[in-house]
Subunit: 220 residues, 2 copies
């Protein structure tokens, strides 16, 4: 009974996500679903990303949070259009929420849409938002065992930021072990070491996103 209901929820979500993906393709909007644990540094990395990309491209942000608009306020300070979705305790964003939110965006004028999901390494992985790519932020303070303990979210990621890399020396995080686990779960994944406080890897991160965006716009 419960399983049946969950299947219905996923079915409906996937239908909406397919519709969104077709719309984003049609409007040439590159959509990034940004995922990670609470406190992995998604918003900080997003701020740095916007600092670089919004100089060249028209970028907008959708912020997913349980209750507050704290993260949206941070993005708003960068003069980037931002829409806040409060899930009121809900553990993930879903495609119908995105479909409703984009009503206030001019997709024709938009190049890149970044959706910062609710901080959660489990549930958001099961909900397609119609995104072009998934980007997962894993803080090295979370431990090197997280890819193997939470494989679903890493399996479909195009890129993983190993964030807070400046704290590496104060932890027992084993970079080789984490990289090997990530590659065994998802051989095609790009792994980039970043630190928002020390400015490490941010150029590489932004260049990778930019290349991905550009390659998607090339005629096939």
């Amino acid at each position: 009974m419960e399983v049946q209901v969950m299947e219905n929820i996923f079915d409906e979500n996937d239908r909406t996500a397919d519709r969104l993906r077709a719309l984003f393709d049609d409007k040439h909007v590159f959509v990034i679903n940004l995922l990670g644990s609470p406190g992995s540094g998604k918003t900080s990395l997003l701020e740095k990303t916007l600092g670089a990309l919004s100089k060249k491209f028209s970028v907008a942000v959708i912020e997913g949070d349980l209750f507050t608009a704290r993260d949206a306020a941070r993005i708003d300070r960068l003069n980037v259009p931002v829409i806040q979705i409060n899930t009121v305790g809900g553990c993930h964003l879903d495609a119908p929420m995105i479909e409703k939110a984009i009503g206030s965006l001019d997709l024709n004028a938009l190049d890149i849409l970044i959706i910062e999901n609710v901080g959660n390494l489990v549930c958001p992985a099961s909900f397609d938002l119609g995104e072009t790519i998934r980007a997962v932020v894993l803080s090295i303070t979370e431990g090197d065992d997280k890819p193997s303990k939470y494989p679903i979210i890493f399996k479909d990621a195009s890129v993983v930021a190993l964030n807070k890399i400046d704290l590496l020396e104060y932890t027992n995080f084993d970079l080789d072990s984490a990289r090997n686990d990530l590659k065994s779960i998802n051989p095609a994944v790009e792994i980039i070491e970043t630190s928002c406080t020390k400015g490490i890897g941010l150029e590489q991160w932004c260049r990778w996103l930019e290349n991905k965006y550009s390659s998607g716009r090339e005629p096939v």
Copy 2:
């Protein structure tokens, strides 16, 4: 429709949790539901806690994970009885899972049962496991905004460990701000600063748990 189904799920969970709580009371078993984000340090703090408490009390552990038995293997090395629940992608433990798991424990011989939930700051908060108390581990590397962004899980906590406190100087975590937010969400909460790698606050943490356990055993 969806809401109705969720209500039914919660109702069934709560009925099972009430049954479990009565059973634990009857058997004088003190049950701790240990919650926190992926990588907050739940398992490390649990290891330290077991090192101290298992010398004085009969303790058992239930480990909740999506797939692996990595954490259970860590507990097993301490010669503490441990039961692994794999949720196979599920984002939280629920009371029926606990009811099934305790079938293999001798509750008559047990003083303390510690349940390490799935790493998730959202969903586990909504599922009562029949526990005596909730303990939440928040790593200071997650940021001081987490209590206000994820209030549900902190609202019903008896104690919060501000873990990885040894990394405080390398972060912009504002202790006063986090403490104020926690106290405004949950005025009665006990807040203990801990570091498993540097051995900070562990004595205080274990003493607090022990006092809580002892006070529960005093005749009313």
